[in-house]
């Protein structure tokens, strides 16, 4: 019993520590980036100024990414017409295998590839996957590290709020 208590306390502490680094992005302009997509075209985040953007940083080796990406695909299908832009950014160093993985997922939103540590550093990515929501002014309004059941509901609440602005 005591063992379980300390295990729970320790995991809570670690979860808190993992998330505490992430909120430093909140309220700040999203660091800009330009990356090449699966279709060979370059996309730049700042060119979506004026729209609500959901950016998901993922990797094929992160189990939560495999669960989260189809959820984001459904969100994109529903809210794309309302002005939401969903971007998936692979931070996998092996771009070829990341591309194969993404092709297999058959996602309907742009997938970009970054094999350098630059974006991970700019966005302080410490836990994968990581999802951020950027408002129409380019400001980070929501950050979520990891993915567990129920997180999609939080995404939807935030997306609806930002789309209404």
């Amino acid at each position: 019993m005591l063992h379980r208590f300390w295990g729970l306390a320790l995991s809570s502490l670690l979860a808190g520590a993992a998330l505490s680094a992430v909120p430093t992005l909140l309220g700040k302009p999203a660091p800009d980036f330009a990356l090449k997509g699966m279709d060979g075209k370059n996309l730049r985040l700042s060119e979506y100024r004026g729209q609500v953007v959901l950016v998901n940083f993922w990797a094929r080796w992160a189990g939560d990414s495999r669960r989260e990406l189809p959820v984001l695909d459904r969100i994109n299908t529903t809210y794309n017409r309302a002005g939401l832009v969903v971007l998936g950014v692979s931070v996998d160093e092996d771009v070829r295998r990341a591309r194969e993985f993404a092709e297999g997922m058959k996602l309907g939103f742009p997938i970009l590839f970054d094999a350098t540590p630059d974006i991970g550093r700019d966005y302080s990515i410490e836990k994968m996957p990581m999802t951020i929501l950027v408002d129409r002014s380019g400001v980070v309004r929501y950050v979520s590290a990891g993915f567990k059941p129920g997180d999609d509901r939080a995404y939807l609440d935030q997306i609806r709020e930002l789309l209404r602005e």
Binding site: P29, A34, L35, K36, K41, N42, L43, R44, E47
Partner: protein, 211 residues
């Protein structure tokens, strides 16, 4: 009054931080005096207190206009200050005696679609820039991009630029251009120019002093 400013990223100052909130004694709209008993109620309420003096609609509008002008003036001051701070930051970070700037311009038609430019100075990569369709289009329409701004010591330096894109017949294309230049005591401006070489049906890449 804390002044929060953001420079470099080109963002405007967070005006909300710099502008003091308007005084709370903003006159209420003309519909406000509901608590006062109407003076022409026929005298049925003998204990009616004298009606509170409500600001006339004209006065309220004038006060609002004055406040709006004041806020607009403060916003303009904040924007001017932001601009001055940005210029000062540039002068401090990139003083003229060490400043080097590299610009990109394009004058191509059919022979080259720009995808990226990589810049190396003295064998060290200083910039790798990916161009979106919108950015490449802007260059084609005559835009000039400040690709890199940095500091170099006085003396000889070598700049190498690699241009990646689609060449004639939609083939992948990568070319380099090199220049060795003398950095003097003043700021140095260089231009990477991409043009069509019609005689050879190829794009041409030049690096020259920017005039």
């Amino acid at each position: 009054m804390a002044l929060a400013w953001a420079v470099g990223a080109g963002g405007p100052i967070a005006v909300a931080d710099a502008v003091a909130p308007p005084p709370s004694s903003t006159p209420a709209p003309a519909a406000a005096p509901t608590a006062a008993a109407p003076a022409q109620a026929g005298g049925t309420q003998g204990d009616a207190a004298p009606a509170a003096e409500a600001p006339a609609p004209g006065q309220a509008a004038a006060d609002f206009k004055s406040l709006d002008q004041e806020v607009q003036g403060m916003k303009k001051d904040v924007i001017d200050l932001n601009k001055d701070l940005f210029v000062l930051q540039e002068e401090l970070l990139f003083p003229a005696n060490t400043q080097v700037a590299v610009y990109v311009s394009m004058d191509v038609g059919a022979f080259f679609a720009l995808d990226s430019v990589t810049l190396k100075i003295d064998n060290k990569e200083v910039k790798n820039y990916l161009y979106t369709a919108r950015e490449a289009d802007s260059l084609l329409k005559g835009g000039v991009q400040e690709l890199y701004l940095g500091n170099l010591k006085v003396g000889k330096h070598e700049l190498v630029a690699f241009f990646t894109g689609k060449g004639p017949v939609e083939r992948d294309y990568k070319r380099g251009a090199t220049i060795t230049f003398d950095k003097g005591v003043g700021a140095k401006y260089l231009e990477l120019k991409i043009t069509d070489r019609v005689t050879k049906h190829q794009p041409e890449f030049k690096i020259k002093d920017w005039e």
